[in-house]
Each structure stands twice: as C-alpha cells, then as structure tokens.
C-alpha cells in the first residue's frame, strides 16, 4: 500500500478542505453582510459593468444604485432593517442578476431572487431553528376528474413516523395565481413556521397539504411531464371551478394514505389570493369537509363568464355553510391590497346575513410578507 500513498495524496488534495472552499466560491466576496446595527451591505464584483442596481423589499423605493470602488467592486448598504425575510436581486447594465455570493435563492412564479433573514420577532418563525423537524414530501395523487396524476407537498409533523398509532388533523394550504405546490413550502416558509409553532407548543401537531391549484397542470415547472418546456407555453385552468370541484379527491387521498383524524372538526383549509378564493368556494361547496377556513388576501367572486356549478347559488351555499357554524372563518387582508374593496363587499354580505367570521387587517398589500404572518397567526387557532 505504501507506494500508493503519494499518488493518492496528489489526487486527493484536489478534494481537500481548501478545494472545498473554492467550490463554494472562496472568501473574496461575502454578500449580503448583516451588520451589527441590522443594516445590510450587498457587494458584487463587476469591474466591466457600467451600472449596477440592487432591488428588493429591503430597499426604500425598491431600487438603489450601487457604488463602484477602484477595483470594480460595487456596494450598497441599506437603512436599518426590522426583523423579516427579505428578497433582493442585482441589475447589471439592465439585466437581473442573482447575487453569486448568496446561495439562498427562492422562486416566485417564474423568477428567482436571493433571500436573507433579519432575526427577531415573527421572523424567527421563518428560520430553520434547532427544533424537531417535520418531513416534507412530494407526493403524486390521482385526479380522475382532472384526468391527471398531480403532485402535491405534504408536511407531516415531527414525531409522525415515531408514533405509528397517533392520528393527526389536516390543514390544506393553497397558493395563489402563478404559484404551485412548492410555493407555500418555499416562499411561504410554511414548513419552518409549522416546525417552530409546534415546537413552541403554540400549534397542534398537524399534517399540512399544499396542492397545485392550476387544474391544467400536473406539477410545478420542470416536475410535470411537460418537462422543461419554456414557461410561456404553460397552460392555465384557474378559477373556472374544476380545481374546486375536484378537491375531495385530494382529501380522500390524504385520508387513505396518512393517519388523519378524518372528520370535519379536524380539517382546515386556507389560501392566499386565488388560494383564498379556492378555500372560500371549496369550503362552501363541501360544507361538511372543513371546520376552519382562512381567506388570506382572497379573491372572492367568480370571474365573469365562469359557469361552473361550483359557483352557482353562492348565497344559498353560504347559508348552508354558516348554518353549520364553522369553528373559525378567518378573513385577513392588507389595507393596501388591490382586493381590499372586494373583501369589504364580501364582509358586508356576511354581516348582512349575520354570519360569524373573524377579521384581521394588516398594513401593506398583496405580498408574501403578509401571507407568512397570516399563516403564523392562523395555524395556532386550529384544532383547539
């Protein structure tokens, strides 16, 4: 063996700790840097660029010019930031660029941004903390009515695998237009929020099911058998009733394959924007399925021309649903949301009929920041 050692060492030094550092981009640029005062400094090495901007929800006015030093390094430091998950991108000579020094990237619909977290407050719920973690699975179910096998994300809480006799309540959590079965688990930090709330004893251990609400699709981009085709050819079948009508197929799959408490008392449904619309219409179409309903910045009324039976007799179906007194009917919206007025009209309708609901108004508009907060507030109210 001795004669091999030198040769082996020569080959393997390529795989040593310093090589590993090189694989990870080396120490030359660290970005973003969260400074002690919670300002954040972005840095990009771009000596050939004429103009570099940084854009994101951490910047006043969304865009800011970065400043170049004599080595071609561009920098920008934000104002002091409050605790939150922020996203940002660079624009190099007009083209959107992800920060090459930041491996943390999230997809929103069809574009990617880098993210970072300022610790503290509710932002700590969005972090992976040293707590027991649930299992997150990509699962395919059969939808005969949509004539597709379809992908969904299923979160089972920590302990699910180790307690084979325990049964769990189920929370169905639906994304908005342009989202998919990955949206809540990634952008929405739903798995971190649930891990943390459950670990703190603030939420019941529950299964969370995140479906794909575009009835024309099997799955998120690249995960369905339309393969890696350009997204402009992506078909859409949304808010025309078929996803809502098909929803018992999801519930049946989950009740058959997971250890659920398979009754209305132990089922919740909520969603953001289009997912709020879905939650509204599914829960009234199937008034014996869900005892907890959450509308987060929800679209409310069907689109003009939508003819699905799901949308017929809204008032009659609401009467049936509210006569059965849902355990929680929770409406949340930001006061700058473009759906604010529609929600106001809907609340008026519920008020006129004397239907009981809980209303939560937040600042700002139709943004993930609000939806993560709504989820953090809604989940603790379930199944209690």
């Amino acid at each position: 063996m001795k004669r091999l050692t030198t040769l082996a060492a020569a080959a393997l030094c390529l795989l040593s700790a310093s090589a590993q550092q090189a694989l990870w981009g080396g120490p030359q640029v660290v970005s973003p840097v969260i400074n002690d005062d919670n300002t954040v400094t972005f840095t990009l090495n771009a000596p050939q660029a004429n103009e570099v901007k940084v854009a994101g929800d951490c910047i006043d006015g969304y865009f800011a010019d970065m400043v170049k030093d004599d080595k071609g390094m561009w920098q920008y430091t934000t104002k002091v930031l409050t605790p939150e998950l922020y996203s940002y991108s660079f624009y190099v000579d007009g083209v959107k660029v992800n920060d090459p020094a930041n491996v943390h990237l999230l997809r929103d619909t069809a574009s990617f941004s880098n993210i970072f977290i300022i610790d503290g407050g509710y932002a700590d719920l969005f972090k992976v903390n040293d707590v027991p973690h649930g299992t997150v699975s990509k699962v395919w179910y059969d939808s005969p009515s949509l004539e597709l096998k379809r992908r969904m994300t299923v979160y089972t809480p920590a302990g699910y695998e180790d307690n084979p006799k325990q049964r769990y309540p189920v929370f169905y959590l639906l994304h908005g237009m342009g989202g998919d079965e990955n949206a809540w688990a990634e952008l929405g930090r739903a798995t971190q929020i649930l891990d943390n709330l459950i670990a703190q004893g603030k939420a019941e251990p529950m299964i969370v099911v995140m479906t794909n609400g575009n009835a024309a699709l099997e799955a998120a981009p690249g995960e369905g058998s339309n393969g890696l085709k350009p997204v402009v050819s992506r078909p859409a079948k949304t808010m025309e009733g078929s996803f809502e009508a098909s929803f018992p197929e999801v519930v049946n799959y989950i009740d058959k394959h997971y250890r659920t408490k398979a009754d209305k008392k132990h089922r919740a449904i909520a969603g953001l924007s289009m997912g709020g619309f879905h939650s509204l219409h599914i829960s009234k179409q199937y008034p014996d399925l869900f005892d907890y309903v959450g509308l987060f910045s929800a679209a409310i009324f069907p689109m003009e021309g939508a003819t699905s039976p799901v949308y017929q007799d809204l008032e009659g179906k609401l009467k049936t649903q509210f006569d059965k007194k849902p355990a929680l009917y929770w409406i949340a919206i930001g006061n700058e949301d473009f759906l604010y007025k529609t929600n106001e009209e809907y609340r008026k309708l519920l008020d006129e009929k004397g239907y009981k609901y809980t209303y939560r108004e937040s600042p700002q508009g139709h943004i993930w920041k609000n939806w993560r907060i709504y989820l953090s507030e809604f989940a603790p109210m379930l199944f209690k």
Copy 2:
C-alpha cells in the same frame, strides 16, 4: 349579489389568464429554443450591455459570444446537440446571469445554472415522463455519533403507499464533495431515472436514500439551523472517517421507519467522487451491510493524515469484504477523470488479490453527465 359583479370582475381581471401570462414573463422572449435540427438558440434582452456570452457544456470551448441585434436582443445558436441534459449561463459584462426566460434552474454546490434536455437515448431517462412517480421526502434522522439531527432525501417507489404489505430493497446513493442531500435528486435526476427504469421494468422497485456526506452539516444550504448565513462560513468535515463510521445510524433509521427488506442481499451503496470513497470505506468497514457496491469516479485512498479507525487496515478489511463475495462491486470512471490513475492503482490492487469486480470505463471526466449514466446503468443490476 348583482351589484358586486362589476366590482368583482374589475378586481379579478387582474388575475385572469392574460395576467397569468404576465406573471410568467410574457411571450416576448422564448429561451432556449430547441430547433427542429437539435441546435439550440439562446436569447437575452440586454440593450444596455456591452458584451454577452453564453457558457455551458452545450458550447464548444464552453464560452461563446452572443450577437446583438438593433433592438438590443442578444442571440447564439449552438451546433447540433446529441440527446443529453445540458446546463448553461449567460455572462453580461462579465457577471454570471441566469436566463430570465428559463425557469428551470439547478444548483451545483454554490452556483446556479439553467438546464434543458435534448430528447432521445438515455436522456429520456432524465425526463419526467408520463409514468407512475415515486414519493420524494426530506426526512430528518438523529445521528448521536455526529451529535446532529441530519436531513436526507428518501425516494419511495410508485406503489409504496398503496401496497402496505410489500417490503423493498434499499439503495444508498451518496454525493460528492460540495454536494449535499439534494444533489442526486436534483442534478443527478435520480428520482426521474428511478421512476423511468422501474416503469420500464428495467429496475426493481426500490427505496433510494440520499444522505448528506459532510459530517459537520445538518443539511443543504438554508435547510439547517445555520440558517441563511454566507456559504464561506460553511463548516466542512469530510473524508476524515466520521460520516463513514456513523453510517449504520442511517441504515437503522431507514430499516425502522420504512418497509425494507432489512438484510445485506437487499442493500446497495454507491456514490460519486467523495461519495464513491464513502461507499468504498463504508462497505468494507461494515462488510455485512451491503451486497452491491458502486464506485462512480471515486476517490479511493484516505487523505494523508486521516487517522480514523475506519481507514486502518484497508487490505485486511477488503479481504474480509471480498471473501464474502459481494453480489456486485462496480467501478466506473471516465478516461479523462483526474481520479483515473488512482482508480487504476486500486483496480491493480484488487486484481493482485483476485477480488472480483466489474469495470466500466466511459469517455470524458469528472462530470454529472457521466454520473447520471452510471446511475442509469447501475440501478438495473441491483437486487436481481
């Protein structure tokens, strides 16, 4: 209700099909376009840029200059490409940029590239086809010896959930230096390859377990409780024996929580580069665990100074392992791989001792293209 209709329609047209198109970037740029002759055209809208290149394994010489038209649209068309999964990026005035028109992005270590597939041949195994799909789960197991809870990817084959009495063999599939528990499932297309091989009857239905081979880490970037910290501070504990020594903790977790055939005959282990090194040393350290061993472009010999007991008495342990006659000991490497000579030395050692193995030599070097092919060839030989 009538009075609400117009208001609702006004708000909701923002969510209509055309709005959905806008969410997806609109039809203005389609990139990449796979032309009928299997050339591929890339397009980037960058009127302010001075220089745009495209780089990737689909380009002869890796880099090519793109050409600007009078509207600021840059284009490049490749030569005719053979079937394969390719990756590429743009460089805009020297800065790496992902194609904003292509939502399909993969992370390799700390950087992202866009991908596309040219159909045909073995590349069809890398596609999501209209076949039954397995479930892909992110699961946390406890490693007392590494003093961490650790994340892994577990693939259960289609039918696993619907056949609660069936037990399955298990294939442990390990990544290389700089990779993590996501690498094989994403870059390696392991879940697509397994779905397709199983659907074609070419591979046995099996559970595939993809661990994280960096013993200092809980999980892939952003998924562990080091949070979203810059990757330059990422700790490394690799090829020093502790991951290999701890491996029975993984096997025990899987045998306890999944319906496995829990014996040597029904266990395989393979990996690429550092993962091949791990497979070699784990399988000889625990000679009663794995009947199938695959070394894909493997590192072979411990690094100078590595003192773990795992690496002691290599020859004695190999003798024990090979005396038990593994069902398959498969060594694959590209003839341009920087580890080629080390593998040659290792094969010489095995030859001198008369230990039986199968050798597969491919063209090219230390690249994912080879590792996807090796997996496609190795999986069908298992458990038969």
